[in-house]
């Protein structure tokens, strides 16, 4: 979290969460009132979220913000993490890759390490609440703690793309998942025909009040441009994402080279390198090579916890790219649309949910397609403005944290009420 002085200088503050009343200014009073009504109708008040890390990654980021909001609504909400060691996390990383890519890369030892550590967690960590949300595969085995003959509801929340998983890993996890009351996936195409439990669609969300998305003073944006030697007077095209083949950074450079031969502009490819990701270093090296000799291509290594700078770069952009060839949900698209930016993105993962082609952005499949759309938007700023405007309206309704919170509450109601169309009681007047 940061605050600005009058000159746009940043004073770093600890990351903070926000009250529902602060979101009312963005999403409207009615949404907040409905959240209160729905939560008041949930009789079983205790809720626990369980994942594998308190810091780093999108899941921890959303739980950090969502759990206090649930508490503010009168639920007894908490958040626990399972413990892991190196071999456990090596196993779960392998599972993650195998589930997302379909590659058979898992060894028998990975399954054994997972089961051993799961047994330790079952012994050392007590997960007990009326509603239990288990996030992602790592803690899936905690289902063994489910109380038999109770009204507990266990929900497995999957944040990754399991539409084409490696069959050995999926079969292994399906044994756990089918013991849950329900599952949640992030995009329609991630749904499975081989699960015996209800599957719900809950898209991930962005927090409009977080440093990555909040409004910024122009003076701060200007200083970030200056820090990275970017020229404010030229159109700026930006892609912010990890240095990863799935994000096709080389394709972005190729597309930009086509465009820049006709329209003078600048490209920013900004991203971070994780210490434990050797492939990231390799991709970064290739990106540098592809950008060699080009003063108009800026490859920026952005350190972790640089949310404000990322926000500033997105806000300064004329066009934002997310030319992924494989994507989970691609929340960077929602981040850019929230800033009313025209977005050109790969038609993969959750991106088509966020962009209706030609209406709230452009979906592309090739380098040439990306170049064509960049040309078009640079020559037609009115169209760019319209795409950004529609994109922001769509994000406001469908991809903000309050909508995700409401979906979780509706799911909790829906799993317990027997009527086909549950009718809630009015809110109590204090």
């Amino acid at each position: 979290m940061a605050e600005f002085d009058d000159g746009g200088s940043v004073k770093m503050m600890p990351q903070k969460t926000h009250k529902l009343s602060e979101y009312a200014l963005i999403v409207g009073e009615q949404v907040i009132a409905d959240l209160h009504t729905i939560a008041a109708n949930i009789e079983q008040k205790s809720v626990v979220h369980v994942n594998s890390t308190k810091t780093g990654g999108g899941v921890a980021e959303i739980l950090f913000r969502l759990t206090p909001l649930m508490s503010e609504l009168g639920l007894n909400a908490s958040w626990d993490v399972i413990r892991g060691d190196q071999s456990f996390f090596e196993a779960t990383k392998t599972f993650h890759n195998a589930l997302q890519t379909g590659m058979k890369i898992t060894k028998q030892k990975n399954f054994e390490d997972f089961e051993r550590k799961t047994a330790e967690n079952l012994r050392d960590l007590r997960v007990d609440a009326d509603t239990v949300f288990i996030h992602d595969p790592q803690p899936a085995g905690m289902i063994a703690q489910r109380k038999l003959d109770s009204d507990q509801k266990w929900i497995w929340r999957c944040h990754i793309d399991v539409s084409n998983p490696a069959s050995d890993v999926w079969s292994f996890f399906a044994r756990y998942i089918n013991k849950y009351d329900a599952s949640i996936f992030s995009a329609p195409q991630f749904g499975r025909s081989d699960l015996q439990i209800p599957q719900f669609l809950v898209s991930p969300s962005i927090d409009p009040l977080a440093d990555k998305n909040r409004e910024l003073p122009q003076s701060y944006i200007d200083r970030v441009l200056s820090k990275y030697a970017l020229k404010a007077e030229k159109p700026l095209i930006t892609q912010i994402s990890r240095f990863d083949y799935a994000k096709d950074p080389i394709g972005v450079i190729e597309a930009f080279k086509i465009v820049s031969s006709h329209i003078e502009s600048e490209l920013v490819l900004g991203g971070s390198l994780a210490d434990d990701d050797p492939e990231g270093l390799e991709v970064h090296a290739k990106v540098l090579k592809a950008a060699e000799g080009r003063k108009d291509i800026h490859v920026l290594l952005i350190p972790p916890f640089s949310d404000l700078e990322i926000n500033a770069l997105q806000r300064a952009s004329t066009i934002v790219l997310q030319k992924s060839v494989k994507e989970g949900f691609g929340l960077t698209v929602a981040e850019a649309l929230w800033k009313s930016k025209p977005v050109i993105a790969g038609a993969t993962g959750g991106i088509p949910l966020q962009i209706k082609n030609g209406l709230s952005g452009y979906l592309v499949h090739t380098v040439e397609g990306a170049a064509y759309r960049m040309h078009y938007l640079l020559r037609n700023p009115d169209v760019a403005e319209k795409l950004g405007r529609y994109g922001r309206a769509n994000v406001r309704q469908n991809f903000l944290i309050t909508r995700q919170l409401m979906d979780y509450l509706l799911l909790m109601i829906s799993l317990r009420r027997k009527e086909l169309v549950p009718i809630l009681a009015p809110p109590r007047v204090p």
Binding site: Q397, N398, L410, I413
Partner: protein
């Protein structure tokens, strides 16, 4: 969930009109059509809530982005199958006079099966399949109550778009009635049957958004009240 012939909050005789709204949670089915034949096969057995969700629910989002084709089916036919003819044929789906969502399914199937005869079948690119989704409805009271027709008019002008959509579309379809909640209550609780019939005749799917439906209902009320005050009714 399946459509039901009654919902426990439906309007009734000698009771005030209570305004509700609904929130919707989406359920995945894992049923994924890669071509038109798959689509027909899945549509034949799709849950009625799936037909509601894909055809009528998009009206709630239609104020955000001006889609050329307003429902999910026609959008997929147009954008992914590139079959503009078929997209046009299923773009406009008035609320059925009878039979509710089952009758919508029958009409939809007859239009698509006609097209099937002369189409070359091909699979769409992986990831572009049509995913059939169901939805569950949770109904929320709004706190607005009307004891007579005048108060009903006031309530409609004050109600949110979610509330108007619920009473004009969701409840009518799930009750499998030819009357929306407003016109049903007017018939049951007043002698203003002409007013009720005029409201009943509104086809929400011909409107660009829910605000526009609300404005049309209000116009009908104003016209009717004016005529009534001049003794023409």
């Amino acid at each position: 969930m399946t459509a039901v012939a009654s919902i426990s909050n439906e309007p009734s005789r000698n009771s005030p009109f209570v305004f509700f709204k609904a929130r919707y949670i989406v359920e995945l089915t894992g049923k994924r059509a890669a071509n038109l034949q798959d689509f027909v096969d899945y549509l034949q057995t799709a849950n009625k809530s799936s037909i509601f969700y894909h055809i009528y629910h998009p009206l709630l989002d239609s104020h955000l982005v001006p889609y050329e084709f307003p429902n999910d089916f026609s959008y997929w036919f147009s954008d992914t199958l590139q079959d503009k003819d078929l997209a046009e044929q299923v773009a406009d789906f008035e609320l059925p006079e009878s039979g509710g969502l089952e009758s919508v399914r029958r009409i939809l199937l007859s239009r698509i099966e006609r097209a099937l005869r002369d189409r070359i079948m091909y699979d769409v690119r992986p990831g572009s399949e049509f995913n059939f989704l169901n939805c569950r409805v949770v109904v929320i009271p709004t706190g607005i109550v009307a004891k007579n027709v005048d108060e009903l008019a006031d309530g409609i002008s004050e109600a949110s778009e979610l509330s108007i959509f619920y009473h004009m579309v969701t409840s009518r379809l799930f009750r499998e009635s030819r009357y929306d909640d407003f016109s049903q209550w007017i018939i049951q609780n007043s002698t203003d049957t002409e007013l009720a019939e005029d409201i009943r005749a509104i086809d929400p799917t011909t409107h660009v958004n829910v605000k526009s439906i609300q404005q049309e209902v209000m116009k009908i009320f104003q016209r009717y009240m004016k005529q009534k005050s001049f003794g023409r009714i």
